[in-house]
Subunit: 273 residues, 2 copies
């Protein structure tokens, strides 16, 4: 596996390598990321994984500073999962300081976009760079970041990237807790508690699928989550393409939520079935 | 020569065509554009010309509506100059309506950027699309739009486009008037008068090159232009990479100006020699 640090190294390494898969990550790779890399390795001739904690998508420095850095382990895991190249650039390599940036589309409105102003502009700015640099045939993103998936699809559509977006379903611990780099910040007690988020969401989604009015299902969900010790930021039934909230969820809708538990922010989303 | 109207037609036409040159235009092709197309035809295996009056770079609708449309003649001229493909899409083909857009960098500050708010954001948004669609080896722009050249170079640098920007010197009528689609809106009297812009600018640039303080040279220039019937919007010595104004012009600086004459807005720039 090639480890590239500069744009020039990437450009040299990827030339003429056949069908290319790209897995953009911020490192701290867990089984969720591994499933993306494995999917790419199966479907593409040449899989590149990027490891870059992108400063422009963090609202405040403390979250950026706290984000786990585990580069050596990340490289090993990426190689084992089938990657041919890892690109781990410096911030100076990725940002020239011209001030050029990309603005996310309408799918960035509300939910995470409302809770984290500027976050999705930072995401599309860095992802557009990686798309142009790698010009991959397919790009792999995890459905755990549901709104990010919609925002990236709009980036692809609007900026005419000839890239197939492959969305991979969320991996979970046996308890139901969605895999996330942030889970490491939970205390053992909170981690046990955190799994209730998924189960309460599944119950609400199922109730809505069974005919309970959406508002009623969400009110009950919020109350049960607060009782279980979560601070609810939002819960909503959404169209996963537009991220518009809906009062009449159907089988293509998702139930999305953001909560805080013991100072750690958790997001999750589940199908309406 | 291929005439493409859709993204799909472009993608099919440009595949495997060797070194690709791209000449983005808004149509109404004059000899200035022809020189760009000819340069590309000489240097590249496959030259594509785009003809698209981009709505997002116009501040008000009247200027957009007034912009000349001469499609049939444009196609003929492009072919004669050596283009292999012309792409003339509809607005719906180029804009999906997601709201994703690109923000221009620091070179867009001041001068044209100040006179035309949002103009350069519109320019980089459409040019980024064309760059991703054509993914050319070289892109050709005219130095007459000096600030646009700097803004596009920042777009290339920041968004990692592997594109060589080729800047072509301004073509002029025998009178000295810079070729521009907007010249057609000048009355015959105004057109004769308009050529003074270039000569006054050359004199000021030459005075500055000869040691006259920049401020003094600009004051004299502004006074002479106003006397000649121009309304001066700005005159400035600038660094053509950053578009920062400078009090101490040198041989890499340019003198840039925007004026109005008989309701027509004219811009020009000249070297400091």
């Amino acid at each position: 596996m090639i480890i590239a640090r500069t744009l020039a190294e990437v450009r040299q390494a990827i030339q003429g390598k056949g069908a290319a898969g790209l897995v953009p990550t911020m490192g701290a790779l867990h089984e969720g990321h591994i499933s993306l890399i494995s999917a790419s390795a199966q479907e593409c001739d040449f899989t590149s994984v990027t490891v870059f904690v992108n400063p422009t998508q963090f609202g405040d420095n403390s979250d950026f500073d706290l984000y786990p850095r585990t580069e050596a382990e990340d490289f090993e895991k990426a190689e084992k999962a089938g990657a041919q190249l890892v690109f781990a650039p410096s911030a100076a390599e990725m940002y020239s300081g011209t001030g050029v940036s990309v603005r996310a589309g309408s799918a960035a409105n509300g939910l995470e976009g409302a809770s984290r102003p500027g976050h999705f502009d930072g995401v599309v700015s860095i992802v557009a760079k990686l798309f142009t640099l790698f010009y991959p045939d397919r790009a792999y993103f995890g459905l755990k970041d549901l709104q990010q998936c919609a925002v990236i699809q709009q980036l692809i559509d609007e900026q005419l990237f000839p890239i197939e977006l492959r969305l991979i379903e969320t991996l979970r611990e046996y308890s139901g807790l969605a895999l996330s780099s942030r889970n490491e910040r939970l205390s053992p007690t909170d981690k046990a508690q955190a799994s209730k988020l998924y189960h309460e969401m599944m119950e609400a989604a199922s109730a809505a699928a069974g005919g309970q009015p959406a508002g009623q299902a969400l009110n009950r969900l919020n109350a049960r989550l607060e009782t279980a010790g979560f601070q609810v930021e939002y819960t909503a039934f959404v169209d996963p393409k537009t991220m518009a909230t809906t009062e009449t969820p159907h089988r293509l809708s998702r139930l999305a939520a953001a909560v805080q538990l013991g100072g750690v922010r958790l997001i999750d989303n589940v199908p309406v079935i």
